[in-house]
């Protein structure tokens, strides 16, 4: 009996729910003028769980980076439209030689606990991040500052060896000097023209005195100086930030609260966006990008743009078998039909790239890879023959490695097919896509220099400047030079550009350095990432930064229609 009764009730209530919803649907549209967001002034945006807390010097992933950018202001900020650096907390950043920089803060800046933002806050924060026993992820960002080697010591045999890193001589960078409450001086090891642009990166944010009393607790409950201040963090579920009433910037936040709602699955976030339960996501899932479905779903709520992320494929130049020679790498690059792949697989959501630098940054020059990054099967075959004549025999099977835990399989397979077709069956080798299960494993094999084949590399800019696409990636011994490329002439050119005192001259030197890459093709540029974002019908004015993040100052709630 009980079962039957229960079933009746369940069926009845289901019918009732449907009926109510049907009525609600009908009646809802007429009363839609009432925007549910207006009452609370709260907007909901897609988020994910940060790996580390709110300590700017200890962050380098997007989940944490995005929400930290909401709550920390830096000396410099990047224009959300043009990516050009503009003064934010700094009143002036002066230098005559690009080596000694005098930075003056705007007066009257405050932390969310009411204490003033001082030059000392910046110097303390930078010293803390650079000091190696503090084990901050961002420490290497201060390597340019004088005295870095005295505060940051390397482990003589790496983290795997039994030896421990010696204790640094001091915990203060000698290149940092507080002049007065709002002025400090930075002395670099060598002239660095791009230093001003770098200052907008999250690692260069200041920390209040409250941090140093309890760094662990602060990471979970920070005192901040940005347009928004921290309210609460429910792990794996949401982070809430509220508009900072003391924010001194010219443009004020237009919403009272932002809820950074965590999603495990982009499809779930997208479903919430389409039904207006979520106000913003910058990750439209592949299922919605297919056939431009998202544009029909969202209409004028769709946002398209560009972001400073590029996709490349690298060669292990240290490996005789899979490193190839320059002509071989050219042949591979010529055999990739970038346009068809970006059209068919990414629905034009990515743009074919013929240089090593993202098109949206300062110093970008189209065509630096030129003919070698344009699909041409005949030329590809010629270069392959040339490569063979020079004595290089490619192995029978040439893999392209990628990490299987995100969506790379499709384009890697397409690229392999494109190469195999272009080079023909008499090429003597076939290219195949191969995956490793996780990103961790993939990166371990790459950094141990044991990878056998080409491998996927991508670069997300830290700051919008050509330098960020060259120095960390192709300089001899650079931190992310995964293929161990080394070219003396290129290194010298890069150094020349680093130390040039004139901005424009420096940029043109970087461009000359980039052009040199076309001789060796240590990595093959593929495409630059587009940006696909969407908003709910409750908000308006939303801008997305070139970093692919929401500009928190732009979002505002629609007035009742």
């Amino acid at each position: 009996m009980r079962v039957t009764k229960g079933a009746k009730i369940a069926a009845g209530s289901a019918l009732l729910a449907l009926g109510v919803a049907a009525c609600g649907g009908g009646g809802g549209s007429s009363s839609d003028g009432g925007n549910p967001r207006t009452a609370t002034g709260t907007v909901y945006i897609r988020g994910c769980e940060p790996q580390t807390g709110f300590v700017p010097g200890n962050i380098n992933e997007t989940c944490g980076g995005t929400v930290n950018d909401f709550v920390y202001s830096k000396l410099v900020k990047y224009n959300p439209d043009t990516a050009a650096p503009e003064l934010d907390q700094a009143a002036s950043i002066d230098t005559t030689d690009n080596k000694v920089w005098t930075i003056k803060l705007k007066p009257g800046l405050k932390w969310s606990d009411g204490t003033p933002v001082t030059a000392k806050n910046y110097v303390d924060a930078w010293n803390y991040t650079a000091y190696s026993p503090n084990a901050q992820i961002g420490s290497s960002w201060f390597a340019d500052v004088q005295g870095f080697d005295k505060v940051n010591t390397a482990d003589p045999d790496g983290p795997d060896g039994p030896k421990e890193a010696p204790k640094p001589e001091t915990d203060k960078l000698s290149g940092l000097e507080v002049v007065d409450d709002t002025t400090f001086k930075v002395t670099l090891n060598a002239p660095t023209a791009v230093f001003r642009t770098k200052l907008g990166y999250i690692t260069f944010a200041a920390l209040p005195d409250a941090f140093f009393k309890n760094p662990q607790g602060f990471a979970q409950n920070p005192v901040t100086n940005g347009p928004f201040k921290f309210v609460k963090w429910d792990h794996n579920s949401q982070i809430v930030v509220a508009a900072n009433p003391d924010y001194a910037g010219a443009e004020k936040p237009k919403v009272k609260q932002i809820v950074y709602k965590m999603y495990k699955d982009d499809d779930a976030a997208y479903a919430d966006l389409v039904s207006n339960n979520l106000d913003f996501t910058e990750l439209i899932p592949p299922s919605a990008l297919a056939g431009d479905k998202w544009k029909t779903d969202l209409g004028d709520r769709a946002i398209e743009g560009q972001q400073g992320v590029i996709q490349t494929v690298s060669f292990p130049l240290y490996d005789k078998e899979f490193g190839g020679n320059a002509d071989f790498r050219k042949a591979i690059s010529l055999a990739v039909d970038r346009k068809t792949i970006t059209d068919k697989i990414f629905n034009k959501g990515r743009v074919p790239l013929d240089s090593w630098v993202s098109p949206i940054v300062e110093g970008y020059k189209a065509g630096s890879c030129g003919e070698f990054c344009t699909y041409d099967p005949t030329k590809a075959k010629d270069f392959l023959n040339k490569a063979k004549q020079e004595g290089y025999t490619p192995p029978k099977e040439f893999p392209i490695w990628y990490n299987g835990d995100s969506a790379h399989k499709e384009w890697v397979d397409a690229m392999a097919n494109s190469i195999n077709q272009a080079l023909g069956s008499d090429a003597g080798f076939t290219v195949v896509g191969k995956s490793m299960p996780t990103f961790d494993e993939f990166r371990s094999v790459i950094t141990e220099h044991k990878i056998k084949g080409m491998f996927r590399t991508g670069w997300q800019m830290d700051y919008p400047h050509i330098e960020d696409f060259l120095n960390p990636l192709v300089k001899t011994g650079a931190s992310s030079n995964d293929g161990l490329y080394s070219n003396k002439a290129l290194d010298e050119k890069l150094h020349e550009a680093d130390v040039a005192t004139d901005q424009n001259q420096s940029v043109s030197l970087y461009q000359q350095a980039e052009a040199m890459l076309a001789e060796d093709l240590p990595t093959i540029p593929l495409w630059s990432y587009g940006l696909q974002a969407g908003t709910s019908k409750w908000v308006t004015g939303v801008k997305v930064t070139p970093f692919g993040e929401l500009d928190p100052l732009s979002i505002q709630i629609k007035a009742a229609a």
């Binding site: 079962v3 992933e61 190696s132 429910d234 579920s237 495990k264 479903a271 371990s444 670069w459």
Partner: protein
């Protein structure tokens, strides 16, 4: 029965020790360094990697690490994960949600599955039987993510009867649709299992005797037939509780439910053993206990089964 229970409980100890050791060992053997991918395309600074390894004892030999783990489990101190967030608090947040979802799913499975099975088994070859056979075939051939996305799109996006995702509170009403999705596949299994069992037992001697005694149909089916036919179904549902407790990664992902499945998934991809190992160990315990309960329930259903 009491001695049997105690003996079974004592058996849990070596099983738990063995499995937790294996779990620890396997996590330790995973290729790749958990801190290699943490800094993206850039390598992490050595000082950071060393400090993290020291904090989590990754530089210790495996036996020392296992001892440390046992000590922490027994004292209930699970420490922090690689993100420096307390593990116990995260489990405390996620587990109640998963338990609610799992119990709801098993309840849906049992109610719908068993009643459909009984109805079709009693009238073999009849209309209801055909309907159940076809609809279960349909459910069996649909993967969970298809059912999930379909219902989310239909009820959430098109009809707007439900919100497409579940809020952080994850109330029972919000969990109804996800639980139904989760239950859909096994509901079909349960129905078919019950049906076969009923069909088989309907022809057995004791049922004929009961009918011959002149008992009402309800008593024959409800007491004599059902009790005997439910034993295999119960075994199935018992293990089901265990596997649903480990979280339903796909369903939780589709409806954005912050349960154990998502936590486990994130921890596995990040090689965060501080979360993987306690969850896996607790799951072993859940499995063992639910199996024990199922074994004990046999005796209730069928008094002929005795425990020595």
């Amino acid at each position: 029965m009491g001695r049997y229970t105690i003996r079974r409980l004592l058996q849990l100890i070596p099983v738990l020790l063995g499995t937790t050791f294996l779990i620890n060992y396997m996590v330790w053997q995973l290729p790749g360094d958990p801190f290699a991918g943490r800094c993206g395309q850039r390598p992490c600074p050595d000082s950071y990697v060393s400090a993290m390894r020291a904090q989590f004892g990754l530089d210790q030999p495996i036996l020392v690490q296992y001892w440390q783990f046992l000590k922490n489990m027994l004292t209930g101190n699970l420490g922090v994960d690689f993100n420096q967030v307390p593990v116990a608090a995260q489990l405390g947040d996620a587990w109640p949600i998963t338990i609610r979802l799992a119990l709801l799913a098993v309840a849906i499975e049992a109610v719908i599955g068993i009643s459909a099975g009984v109805l079709s088994g009693l009238k073999r070859g009849g209309f209801i039987d055909n309907v159940v056979t076809i609809s279960t075939l349909f459910l069996l051939s649909l993967p969970v993510f298809v059912t999930g996305f379909l219902l989310q799109w239909l009820l959430g996006v098109q009809l707007q009867v439900i919100t497409p995702t579940v809020s952080d509170e994850a109330t029972i009403t919000e969990l109804l649709v996800p639980a139904f999705v989760l239950a859909s596949l096994n509901m079909a299994f349960t129905a078919r299992l019950t049906r076969t069992s009923i069909v088989e037992n309907r022809r057995s001697d004791y049922v004929r005797t009961a009918i011959a005694k002149g008992l009402t149909n309800r008593r024959v089916v409800g007491v004599h037939l059902l009790r005997n036919s439910l034993i295999p179904v119960l075994t199935f549902l018992g293990t089901e509780v265990g596997s649903l407790m480990s979280g339903a990664i796909i369903t939780e992902g589709i409806f954005n439910i912050h349960g154990i499945g998502g936590l486990l998934y994130r921890a596995i991809t990040g090689q965060d053993y501080t979360i993987v190992v306690p969850i896996a160990s607790l799951l072993v315990l859940v499995y063992l206990v639910s199996n024990l309960l199922v074994d004990l329930l046999y005796g209730v259903l069928d008094p002929r089964i005795r425990y020595e």
